[in-house]
């Protein structure tokens, strides 16, 4: 009986972590799906939003309820400016266009993490919110994990609804599936790319302001977060929403259970072994074409 409870706890905790990872990868997935741009500054957006939440907590004792909307709006603006000022100037159809956007976002990542280092210093920081434990029957969960994962799944669901059920979401999907086709329908694809990048950045902002209650960050954490998010969306099939959801839950459950059975350092090794296996066996991602944006 106790055994069963342990497995159930591992499974549910894994799914919750999966939700958190999904939230941290959603913006990257949207931007890649529509624009074929890998935003290497994605993790730095998350980190700065988290550190901003730390500052808001320090100044006003404000929790995620304030930090999330502030960070979301701020990064909506940052994303718009980065697109207008930098990415829109690169012709993606030019030779090595994708490489150029990669270099630009890489440079942006260094600039942001160094500025963050100057402002916030190099120590790990967190926001002590949602610190109690929640009982579900005989099981205990950290409140921060439960709240973060519920919000994460809700946001992922909302984005999915937006993409498939609304007019503006459909136009974004159309641009993702064929930019030439979208332009031939009279769509202003430049504006759609701007909107997409701004939204993707805003999603990183929301993710950072929320998950800092769970995952302490410091100025240089961004690179690792980008890699982690990229792993997840590659596993799901780049730009694939359903695939990302599945990959997130898989990664969460594997990570939680392998750190329980094998220890925390073995857990990340297990994840990358699985990642490499999937890349070899199913390079198109877990779901392939199904569930593409």
């Amino acid at each position: 009986m106790l055994q069963l409870q342990t497995y159930l706890l591992l499974l549910l905790t894994g799914i919750m972590w999966g939700g958190v990872y999904l939230l941290m990868a959603s913006g990257l997935n949207l931007i890649y799906g529509v624009m074929k741009v890998v935003n290497l500054a994605h993790g730095d957006f998350i980190v700065v939003a988290g550190l901003l939440a730390v500052t808001l907590y320090g100044a006003f004792r404000a929790g995620p309820a304030l930090a999330i909307p502030v960070a979301t709006l701020l990064f909506l603006l940052v994303g718009g400016l980065v697109y207008r000022g930098l990415l829109a100037r690169v012709e993606t159809t030019a030779p090595q266009g994708e490489l150029r956007t990669l270099l630009i976002t890489f440079g942006l990542s260094s600039i942001i993490s160094n500025i963050a280092l100057l402002i916030w210093g190099g120590q790990y920081q967190s926001v002590p919110f949602f610190q109690s434990a929640v009982h579900l029957g005989a099981l205990f969960f950290p409140e921060s994990l439960l709240v973060s994962s519920l919000l994460a799944f809700a946001l992922a669901f909302a984005v999915q609804l937006w993409l498939t059920r609304t007019r503006s979401g459909r136009l974004v999907r159309a641009t993702a599936q064929s930019e030439l086709g979208a332009a031939s329908c009279g769509l202003n694809t430049g504006r759609i790319r701007l909107l997409t990048f701004a939204l993707g950045a805003a999603m990183a902002g929301a993710a950072g302001a929320l998950t800092v209650v769970l995952i302490p960050v410091q100025a240089a954490s961004g690179g690792f977060m980008t890699v982690q998010a990229f792993t997840l969306i590659a596993l799901g099939g780049l730009g694939n929403y359903l695939g990302a959801l599945l990959a997130a839950i898989l990664l969460g459950v594997i990570e939680v259970s392998s750190s329980y059975f094998l220890g925390a350092s073995a857990a990340s090794a297990v994840i990358y072994v699985i990642f490499i296996l999937v890349l070899i066996v199913r390079p198109q991602g877990l779901l392939g074409q199904r569930g593409r944006i």
């Binding site: 459909r170 136009l171 599936q177 332009a183 031939s184 329908c185 009279g186 769509l187």
Partner: protein, 243 residues
Amino acid sequence: MPELLQLQQVSGGYHGRTVVHEVSLSIAEGEAVAAVGANGAGKTTLLRLIMGQLPLSGGQVFFAGRDLARLPPFERVRLGIGYVPEGRALFPEMTVEENLEIGAYRASRADLRQRLAYIYQIFPKLQRLRQTRCRLLSGGEQQMVTVGRALMTHPRLLILDEPSTGLAPRVVGELYQALRALHAGGLTVFVVEQNAYAALRFAQRGYVFEDGHITRVAPAAELLHDPRLVESYVGRASPMASS
């Protein structure tokens, strides 16, 4: 007849390499015109210059008397140039009807319904396939969707880039049958084709394209029976053509 599309000395290409050299052509309202030529003659580039997907390095493009120089591609579509790009450029994960609807995404609900009914009248097959994802359609069906989607933008001029590529002869026949009906209904059509036979049988006038230049303009029927047209495909330097 008033000119609907007019190109004056248009030049352009990719990344500093000129592919189209000082091309002038004009299409009158209600006309059906074909531009034919071998693969690599610059036909697709010419269309991309007309649509604004590539910048002009020289010359001017006028549509309905308006200079298009500063207009981005989507504005040109909104002005009334319907475009069927090479390779179809459908939205593969969306259904036939979703693809068509995006062509008229700015239209009112009533307008949209009317336009859909019109497309299904031209391509009855699409009505049966309306809930099917485009990825799953045959080449001919996909081409119908692309033409339908371009018609949904409510164009005055329909431009088609190599519409017969990859289609079985019978399907090419069906496609041109539909284009004939559209032209008979008053639509101006400009088709660019490697398949000179299909295009010139459909068109009233033809332009022959060689190495980025227009080398001949004539009534389509005349070009169709002209042995020199074959020469333009094989190349003048070719021993086959000179023998």
